[in-house]
Amino acid sequence: MDFNFTQEQTLLADSLRRYLAKSYSLPARRQAIAAAGGFSAEHWQAYADMGVLALNVPEAHGGLAAGPGGNPLDTLVVMREFGRGLVVEPLWMSAVVCANVIGLSGSDTQQSALLPALADGSEVFALGALEPGGRYDFNHVATTATASGDGFKLSGRKAVVLHGAQAEHLIVSARVSGKVADATGVALFVVERNAPGLRAFDYATVDGLRAAEITLDGVVVPQSAMLADETHGTAVLERTIQLAGAALCAEALGIVEALTDTTNEYLKTRKQFGVPIGKFQALQHRVADMLVCVEQVRAMAYFAAAKVSLEDGEARRNAIAAARASVAEASRFVGKNAVQLHGGMGVADELIVSHYVKRLTMLNQTFGDYEHHLAQYAEAMTA
């Protein structure tokens, strides 16, 4: 047993934190959001230079990972800092989610064709896994892949694909056989965003990101675009979504820590009734409870990182469901009370507090919300 991060991880976290504290103030973040594509090319390049886009990419393909899935603790360290920094660039989607889909499913040829550009940040990738009417069920795939020439023709729609209109490449699930919600028969394809028949309807999200509805209208892809065939698609997706989930727990950790710090600081400086409001025991207890929640999130973010590489699929699924449900539960308390204890300032656009809370709320319902994960855990639970 060891709770220490490695020296490399600590150094990476420190340099990221310093960079973001210096260059990623709230006004800088607003600028990034207002930029074309909804994120800053300059910051993106900086992350690439620091190597954080390559953490989930195998060494053989231009990355820093020993194998597919990367090192979940490296990802945790980075996502935590990105949470604190409230970063809008598509690191999670491209360098965690998509790096893993490709790493877990692509042939050597596919990996070497795609991953170097992902790892050096020159190209962005996005995954379209969910569909309208399917809620958080990634087996709900109505998009079809039908054989066409020596490739496939894809038709369907992918819902709320984060950074979907900015990504050069989209990875989509499509059904080769079976019925809409069957757990098998789903394959994964890489599609170029400017492929004929692909339409990306781009929009902002409430938490400062961009997303798109991706419509595929008979998009023709070659055989070489298939990352996982219909016997592997579901398993790869499941594993990817678990890795993505573990990373979101770490992002939540960065946010709840920052919110609790900021709130604590505010209680020491804001005066009412002639004293800092932190003198009121009602508020002392509330931040104390927030801190308890932060430790709950930390425990479960660590837990998720520790369990996300388990070979036992059921144990892994339960662990991630537990982590995500627990993180969502504790996050809600922290977010709500961070706003509350700031009084009117808490609901103002001017302070970072409300921006943190919006992101925290949304990340806790990305690829599944509290109820989804709780139900998943409860269904598998033994008496």
């Binding site: 969910l130 309208p132 009417g133 399917g134 809620r135 958080y136 069920d137 819902a159 709320v160 809409v180 919600a181 309807f201 929009y203 902002a204 999200t205 409430v206 938490d207 997303a211 509805e213 005066k271 009412q272 009734f273 002639g274 409001i277 009121f280 009602a282 508020l283 709500k336 706003v339 509350q340 009084g343 009117g344 808490g346 609901v347 103002a348 656009d349 001017e350 409300s354 809370v357 919006k358 709320t361 949304m362 319902q365 990305t366 919300d369 509290y370 109820e371 139900a375």
Partner: protein, 402 residues
């Protein structure tokens, strides 16, 4: 005890329902029911329709042109209006400053202000909070100095108010100002009515958590206010201010509003699919709605009791604090459940879609487009009108004697 509506109450419900259905303009209704932006004109328009029907001030006594309704009738009226999609009446005039003017104002003030509030010819806002004085309202520093000179008898007001809801819609602001620095802080406060068009009044918008412009900063820079605009006596403003807060808080039951928002959650849950079935058919989700609906039933009785007490001549007291806590927590829980119901489509943000005439493409189902913004905006309910922590302080001191 009899808590059930009488035959007359049921008939009254029918009367209100058919009136609202036939008189509420469809464009306003559609905005409200679809979480679209409602303009000042919309709100004024609806108020004037009510006024023309004799219902301009549901909570006022008959002698001032009110309806003289019973507690049950007021609840029914709020219910029917909210469910039908009527905008909420701006409370600052008829529900806040008016009761103060009725009780503490002079004859001239009653004649000058009340009819215009009733007819919605003038819109009001509330100038209590200041940057340094939120929960600790009595510490406020906006000063009013009485000057009698060649130009007459007036107050010279200097200072800043903040979080002023709808100041950008208002013709008048009622302000708490400091007229004395002697003795206890509370003993140096006066209640002043200020015309927003007076030179020296500047309104600057504050953007809230979701890019919505509802609140403002109001700067008062050498504003000359005729001394006839002082309500009651100088340095007695704190008493009036507290009287007003009681009315503000008792207006918080908002039963009809809750019912409408809970209905929205049900409607969403019927349309959203989860594992091939409507979300509404998921027993877990249904139980969550049920939990809130049951809480709402409790709130309805609590709210009725509060208005009934007032009807018996008991001014709103610390029990309004209990209702405020219960009601605002419920309001937030309903908004949160709506976001949950929307699933992945809670995340898109299309500000253009706040307008009823938006003809563009929606990211997801149109009913999801305003849910997250509303949920984030709901955070304010536990903060304003005395934060819920302050309400707990009031309860523990005034009711529990701690």
């Amino acid at each position: 005890m009899d808590l059930n509506p009488s035959a007359a109450d049921r008939a009254f419900r029918e009367e209100v329902r058919s009136f609202v259905h036939s008189s509420l303009p469809a464009s306003i209704r559609d905005k409200m029911l679809n979480q679209k932006k409602v303009s000042r004109e919309d709100t004024v328009c609806w108020h004037k329709i009510l006024y023309a029907h004799g219902w301009g001030a549901p909570s006022w006594p008959v002698e001032y042109g009110g309806t003289g309704w019973t507690a049950m009738q007021r609840l029914i009226f709020d219910d029917e209006c909210a469910l039908a999609g009527a905008p909420r009446l701006i409370p600052f005039g008829h529900n806040m400053v008016a009761p103060v003017i009725m009780k503490f104002g002079n004859q001239w003030q009653k004649e000058r202000f009340l009819p215009r509030i009733l007819a919605m010819d003038e819109c009001w806002c509330q100038g209590y909070s200041e940057p340094g004085s939120g929960s600790d309202l009595a510490s406020l520093t906006t000063t009013a100095v009485r000057v009698r000179d060649a130009e007459g008898d007036h107050y010279l007001v200097n200072g800043q108010k903040t979080w002023t809801t709808l100041a950008h819609w208002a013709d008048w602001i009622f302000c708490l100002v400091r007229t004395s620095k002697e003795g206890k802080q509370q003993a140096g406060i006066s209640f002043l009515l200020i015309n927003m068009r007076t030179p020296g009044v500047t309104v600057r918008p504050i953007l809230n958590m979701h890019d919505i412009h509802h609140v403002n900063e109001v700067f008062l820079d050498n504003v000359k206010v005729p001394s006839e605009n002082l309500v009651g006596e100088e340095n007695q403003g704190w008493t009036y201010a507290k009287y007003l807060l009681g009315h503000e808080r008792s207006g918080f039951a908002q039963i009809g509003f809750h019912k409408r928002e809970l209905q929205r959650v049900k409607d969403i849950a019927r349309q959203e699919m989860s594992h091939g079935k409507p979300l509404f058919d998921d027993p877990r989700f249904r139980a969550k709605i049920a939990q809130l609906e049951i809480r709402l039933q409790a709130l309805e009785i609590m709210g009725l009791k509060l208005i009934w007490d007032q009807e018996q001549g008991k001014p709103p007291g610390p029990d309004a604090s209990i209702v405020k806590i219960f009601s605002t927590d419920l309001m937030q829980a309903i908004g949160e459940l709506a976001v949950e119901a929307a699933g992945p489509y809670a995340q898109p943000y299309q500000p253009e879609a706040q307008y009823l005439d938006f003809a563009g493409e929606f990211a997801g189902p149109p009913y999801t487009s305003g849910l997250a913004a509303t949920h984030f905006d709901n955070h304010k309910y536990t903060i304003f009108a005395g934060s819920n922590e302050i309400q707990r302080n009031i309860i523990s001191k005034m009711i529990l004697g701690l």
